[in-house]
């Protein structure tokens, strides 16, 4: 499988009270069209990754909503899978291009979250959970806290190890001009931050974020012209998606086989490695779904980067940090520090890996990165989406 990415752009992520979803979408898409040096008329279909437009925004016709803003009349649709909406939208774009139905598609991930009160956002996010979880008053921090407690009990994972994920990701975000939080933090600050759902504290949790990201995919066999000026001239490398895999598990956390593994991640990544014909060791750089610090630890294990129960220690020792890590994980700052506009996250992950493989990632560049992976999770692990990208 081979689908080429010809452009990838994001807005700045953050509390963007002065920006509307329309503004955000327009900025990300304009950035992508300029990079690709194509006219919007060349786009044959639009896939919008978004979770909360219905519950928070009251907008239930999102394909047409953004097509109107972008002055397009092409087939346009929303793709939804909770926090994996962005990854699923990329998957839909890949399917569309790969099938030959459309030769160029635009995938837009967008979310506007900060207009609303925290309880409203927490309740809306629980739309990704099950009835039983909602009736228990569980929140997403609570569900991941239940996984954290079980992981700590089974493998001896410590709160310091959890904290070290946030410390690393804030360091990476400090190098990323588009990140929500660009301050570095210490393990002690994480441990002292206020409790959200024990053992997860404020600084173990990804924030509420506004943002958008856009990617243009093509099956065009012709080489993309590399014009003068701009970042694209820096590299003539072609960046391809060489695997796109999705797996689904039970909606509720309690119904799963155990709480310390996200089986959807295991299954989707096995499919993706097989499709790409690579092993986990060959991945140079990865963007993984660190909605909470425990999620990155579990992801590192489920993706095959570390044996079960050993990722916490490895992350604490800096084995996934820029400079000496392999793979280097969450160079954007991850969901934790770059921000987590839920429907945009899966698309932003692709943008970050594209920039890494292209060699235009700036201060957070992983030298010589050739193979990259993205890992996007919906809910407490009901949906997992894996993409593998290669520079060729």
């Amino acid at each position: 499988m081979k689908v080429e990415i010809i452009a990838a752009a994001t807005t700045k992520f953050g509390e963007l009270w002065h920006r509307s979803p329309r503004d955000l979408a327009k900025e990300a898409v304009a950035g992508a069209l300029i990079q690709a040096k194509i006219n919007a008329k060349e786009i044959k279909a639009l896939f919008v990754g978004n979770m909360l437009s219905s519950s928070l925004g009251g907008q239930d016709h999102l394909g047409a909503f953004f097509a109107e803003e972008l002055k397009m009349t092409v087939p346009a649709m929303k793709i939804e899978g909770a926090c994996a909406s962005g990854g699923l939208a990329i998957h839909a774009g890949v399917m569309a291009v790969n099938s030959g139905l459309y030769d160029k598609v635009l995938v837009l991930g967008v979310e506007k979250m900060t207009d609303h009160k925290p309880e409203e956002v927490a309740q809306a996010l629980m739309g990704a959970g099950s009835d039983m979880e909602r009736e228990a008053g569980a929140t997403f921090p609570a569900l991941y806290a239940l996984m954290a407690r079980a992981h700590m009990d089974k493998y001896g994972t410590s709160e310091e190890e959890l904290a070290s994920v946030a410390v690393k990701n804030h360091y990476h975000a400090s190098l990323n001009s588009h990140a929500q939080f660009r301050n570095t933090i210490t393990v002690e600050q994480v441990l002292r931050s206020s409790m959200i759902a024990s053992p997860l504290k404020l600084l173990d949790c990804s924030p509420i974020t506004d943002g958008a990201a856009a990617v243009i995919l093509t099956n065009n066999k012709k080489p993309v012209p590399t014009g003068r000026g701009g970042q694209i001239t820096k590299s003539k490398k072609v960046i391809n998606i060489i695997a796109s895999a999705v797996a689904t598990d039970t909606l509720g956390l309690a119904e799963r086989k155990d709480l310390t593994t996200i089986y959807a991640t295991v299954e989707a990544s096995e499919k993706a490695y097989k499709e790409a014909n690579i092993i986990p060791k060959e991945v140079d750089v990865a963007e993984v779904h660190d909605c909470f610090t425990i999620a990155e630890i579990i992801a590192m294990e489920d993706l095959g980067f570390f044996p079960k129960g050993q990722a916490g220690k490895a992350i604490k020792e800096g084995k996934t940090k820029l400079g000496k890590g392999s793979p280097v994980v969450n160079t954007s700052g991850g969901l934790k520090a770059s921000g987590h506009p839920v429907g945009a996250t899966g698309v932003k992950q692709i943008v970050e890996i594209y920039r890494q493989l292209k060699g235009i990632a700036g201060k957070q560049q992983v030298e010589g990165a050739k193979i990259g992976l993205t890992h996007n999770v919906g809910g407490s692990g009901a949906t997992a989406v894996i993409h593998i990208l290669r520079a060729e």
């Binding site: 929140t139 609570a142 239940l146």
Partner: protein, 99 residues
């Protein structure tokens, strides 16, 4: 407001799940609640493995610190769940109490 029909439909299933014992397999204390649970926070949310082997997510009530551990025995009881507001039907559901 939660739909009264939805409450009526789901409450028909509750009686089969009452008085069932089980064990805590994980727990958390929730300090930042979703809408409808503000007055109860902080509260404990538990996943327990019940007698027949199925697992269930619910709040723990009538607890002391000593009960907050994996392996603690519990039993299912009927309790009010979320705040229905001034005009909503009061929803009842399953919670756990320590044994």
């Amino acid at each position: 407001m939660i739909s009264p029909v939805k409450i009526w439909r789901s409450q028909k299933k509750i009686q089969n799940s009452l008085g069932v014992s089980g064990k805590i397999i994980s727990y958390t204390r929730v300090f930042v609640p979703p809408a409808g649970f503000e007055s109860q926070a902080p509260y404990i949310v538990v996943i327990a493995k019940l007698e027949k082997g199925d697992k269930y997510t619910a709040q723990l009530v009538d607890w002391d610190e000593k009960h907050l551990q994996i392996g603690q025995k519990i039993m299912t009881v009927l309790r009010r769940t979320r705040d229905p507001g001034e005009e909503g039907v009061i929803p009842y559901g399953i919670k756990f109490k320590p044994l």
